[in-house]
């Protein structure tokens, strides 16, 4: 199975490229993997970028910008809704990525 080096870029950045090796696992123990399409390289980067943005948005300095009480959204202070919105979008981003993987 040829491993495309681009696919080896992991969520945390490539510490090492996984080399091209034939599968050596004993057939009795693992099933033969049906080949689905390769994970989208671009998708992973977008997810990573989103969560970097998330980290900056809910810690310093992002939180400085959103640190308001008004306007109240659904009765809740704006800075609380800010955090909650990033949380919900995080789920949506992962869900979008997952949906792309499954097709």
């Amino acid at each position: 199975m040829r491993i495309d080096p681009a696919r080896a870029v992991t969520y945390f950045g490539a510490m090492n490229e996984l080399p091209d090796r034939p599968s050596t696992s004993p057939p009795a123990q693992t099933p033969s993997e049906p080949t689905t399409h390769a994970p989208r390289h671009g998708g992973r980067v977008l997810v990573a970028l989103y969560f970097i943005a998330y980290a900056l948005a809910v810690t310093w300095p992002g939180m400085l910008l959103a640190n308001r009480i008004e306007p109240l959204v659904l009765g809740l202070p704006f800075n609380l809704v800010w955090v909650a919105a990033w949380v919900v979008c995080g789920a949506l981003v992962l869900g979008w990525f997952d949906h792309g993987e499954r097709r």
Binding site: Y11, P39, V58, W60, G75, L80, G90
Partner: protein, 506 residues
Amino acid sequence: MERWHLIAAVVFGYLGLTLWIGLRAGRQASSSVSGYVAADREFGLLVMYFVTGATVFSAFAFLGGPGWAYSRGAAAYYILAYGVLGIAPWYWIGPRVAAIGRRHGYLTQAQLITGRFESRGLSVLLAVVSVAALIPYVTLQMQGAGIVIEAVTDGHVPYWAGSAIAYGIVVFYVWSSGVAAVGWTNTFQGVFMLVVAWAFGLWLPVHLHGGIGEMFREIAAQRPELLRAPGLDATGAPWSWGAWSSSILVSAIGISLWPHLFMKAYAARDARVLRRTVILFPTFQLFLIPVFLIGFAGVLFESSPESADFILPFMILEADLPALVVGLFCAGALSASMSTGDAILHAAASVTVEDGVRPFVTLDDAAQRRLIRGTVLATGVIAYGFALDPDSSLVVLLLTAYGIIAQLAPTVLATLYWRRATTAGVIAGLVTGTATSVFFLFNVELRPLDLHEGILGLLVHAPVLLAVSLLTRPQTAAHLERGLVGRPFDEATPETRIPRVHTELR
């Protein structure tokens, strides 16, 4: 019949139901160690969702969360902020851990690490670190249970009895049914927690202030410092951005590494289930919002409880609700505590035997299972002993735990993703990172930028791991090829239902 009799009856009814579910759950799993520790790798999405959510959110969320909102204001928002940030990497790491675990029959976190970095010393070190972090955690859950039961029965069921009854039941069903009991009781308890939190969280502000927005406007008028991030620290002074940010980061890094959560990767049926659990996790996490509302509802209350952590039972009792409702609230709080406590007791016992004993002593499957069960009982008794003895050093131990658990991050990442890592590098990094974390825990004033000691530990751990690994002999290609590092396909084929592998015990 006095009011507290009714309340106690509801609480005991809830406990009895939980026990019944826990005992019944054991019939599904096999009688092997794999069945006891990983439910034969058969957990579906419903159970995984609640195991993850209910285990993560403990008595801290139910009592400490409102307590933080009440006394520290917006500082409590950090609890909401770190969850999805921390669980997102699990989308990739979880399935990889599960695939490698299936291939080699792993049941614990340390087995994954020492499968690649073969060292019995490392195995014991990981076991000791895990158990040292888990015991104070479960002790605090026991305390939370005792406190809540005593509060809602007006002291008629004293702290020591409430704690003993609730956790006697936990020990019983964990002893009997292992992780299957954890899974199914967590599902029941998770639903309970969510319903109670949302119901009270939405009702209390309306009851006391006429509405959620109205409540916040009043707080903004009288105590605006509570609503601006990062809120206040424990002494009431403004909390620093450095502490807020690093608390979020350390908690995010550590959340998926807690041994009792990490090993649930082995219990999931397939990668699909793990991924969906990650994606759905925020839906569970949003219950923190009503939890915060309960705390905020108490801010402008005339009287106050002895300690901020008691604000939730205090508000419930002050609101003068029907006994049935108070009983259900108590059940909700117990759910939060027990759903974390059972996973921890189970994990602590499994880790002690699998990682602390098995590397040195040959045991057959039945003997292992008996030993794990016995350790569940012993761990419960030891933790309960600590719960009875209010010792400030215990809280210190738990604070240390967070910083130490975060040290597992470079270790796990190196195991899964860095082929050049070596055993010496991993051990050196772990030891220096942990030592640094402990040092800054006891020398708070020396922390640069008021950063959490776990972050400071990581800043030492990572370079040491890198440097020592590069300076020592690399692992052989054959060793790595045995599937220890994991391959990209582990992440690329979520649809493959991996059939049950005959688990050869090493």
